[in-house]
Symmetry: C2
DNA sequence: TGGTGCCATTTTGCATTCATTATGCATAAT
DNA sequence: ATTATGCATAATGAATGCAAAATGGCACCA
């Protein structure tokens, strides 16, 4: 990663300094996550160079970076392609995400302010609203923001960094998965429990709950994602 | 990362195919972890090009990759330098490592074989021996191998990948830290408890123990590492 | 004597070029 | 008709070239 960007490290962030490849990483990541570049499709360097109007050097640097994030696979002498995780790999990454969110829950209880909890409650209310309207897009978005709010409350940059990377790797799978009404209701119940535990600052219990909560998405995701 | 190497992703690994920058990543990482390249020191591209006898392109790719791992910091227009984590950053990363090892403990109980447990017991016995001889180097090495054996038993490649990256980032700090006799004895006791829990396949308890065990290194490390 | 600005040198970031490897297609052989 | 082979084309990996930025030294000045 590089200073301006992103996940794992961002410390020496002076102002105004930018790498070209940083910009490219951001835009290329968007193309991948949005699905504009389809999973398993080969990446043509010349095309992207024209698209971004840069030379191949910074583009290739960006490709290497995204490969390190797990968003691209490198094929020696044949360039790179958009990563498509197998069902098993998705489950593996999900397990990592569960561990990270669990840690965030524990740490958040040590640092979160009442204001932050209140903000999460507001997000939660909107999310319940979206759920009652059976409206997945805002539901997903609000759900993501709640989890990120807890992440932020962990006050741990390293944790937030790996979490961003890991959850990015399975983001598309997450969106592709659709819950049954029962699973959906259980997820809502989990979130309400989470808020209670946050208020009680019960880190140990919140940690376990969040690990279980994230793991509970496993059948949903791997069912929807039948590419092994 | 790239196919042949390494932590996060390594799947499309056909044979014989190699990137130059892969080789460089491995060798450069050794230079950093061994301390041959000192923390905070600037990295001179021309020097390393001569040393590795390659051109700047693959070297720069390797630098980007190691920056993504958190081993190097990128300084726009001023190259890169060896990362030197502050005490706070070390604590942050250690917290992540604790979460990952905890997850490994939980998963290991689901998959570990009796033979693997026996192998860990052998390692543990050697480690106790090194401890009684007050001989840190083999102690550290055996300790590392025990934790890695549990990681391997998690049967989760994604987990092992991030773990390798994260623990690499604080490896030097770990080695620099020296325990008090009490801390040392407690660590040994933890390991014995871990073996008991592995035999009992008690994942939940082992997970908590490992999280606590790793966290217990925090005062040791941050005390020894007073560079904020 | 200590600080400041200027200029030469070095180093970096990016573009371009070159060599090697893969890919697609036409042709030939069975 | 189908598969295999060779060749032309395209794309990749690495080296080199070049312009911009940073670093260091020196003269100049307060």
């Amino acid at each position: 990663m590089s200073p301006s960007d992103t996940a794992l490290v961002e410390r020496p962030a002076s102002i105004g300094r930018r790498y070209l490849h940083d910009e490219v990483v951001v835009r290329l990541r968007e193309l991948i996550l949005s699905g504009e570049l389809e999973p398993r499709s080969r990446v043509n360097e010349a095309d992207l160079c024209r698209r971004f109007d840069i030379s191949r050097t910074p583009l290739r640097e960006a490709i290497k970076l995204l490969a390190a994030e797990g968003l691209l696979d490198l094929l020696p002498n044949r360039g790179s392609r958009v990563a498509a995780l197998s069902a098993q790999e998705i489950e593996e990454v999900l397990e990592v995400v569960a561990a990270l969110e669990g840690a965030a829950g524990e740490l958040a209880c040590l640092h979160i302010t009442d204001e932050e909890i209140a903000a999460i409650e507001v997000l939660h209310a909107s999310m319940v609203d979206a759920w009652q309207r059976r409206d997945p897009p805002p539901y997903f978005e609000l759900n993501r923001r709640i989890h990120e709010a807890i992440m932020a409350a962990s006050r741990n940059n390293a944790l937030q960094g790996v979490y961003a990377t890991m959850s990015g790797r399975i983001q598309r799978a997450r969106y592709a998965a659709s819950k049954t009404p029962e699973q959906w209701a259980l997820a809502i119940a989990d979130h309400e429990e989470m808020i209670i535990l946050l208020k009680a600052r019960d880190g140990a219990t919140l940690g376990s709950l969040m690990r279980r909560h994230v793991r509970s998405k496993r059948p949903v995701i791997s069912a929807a994602f039948g590419n092994a």
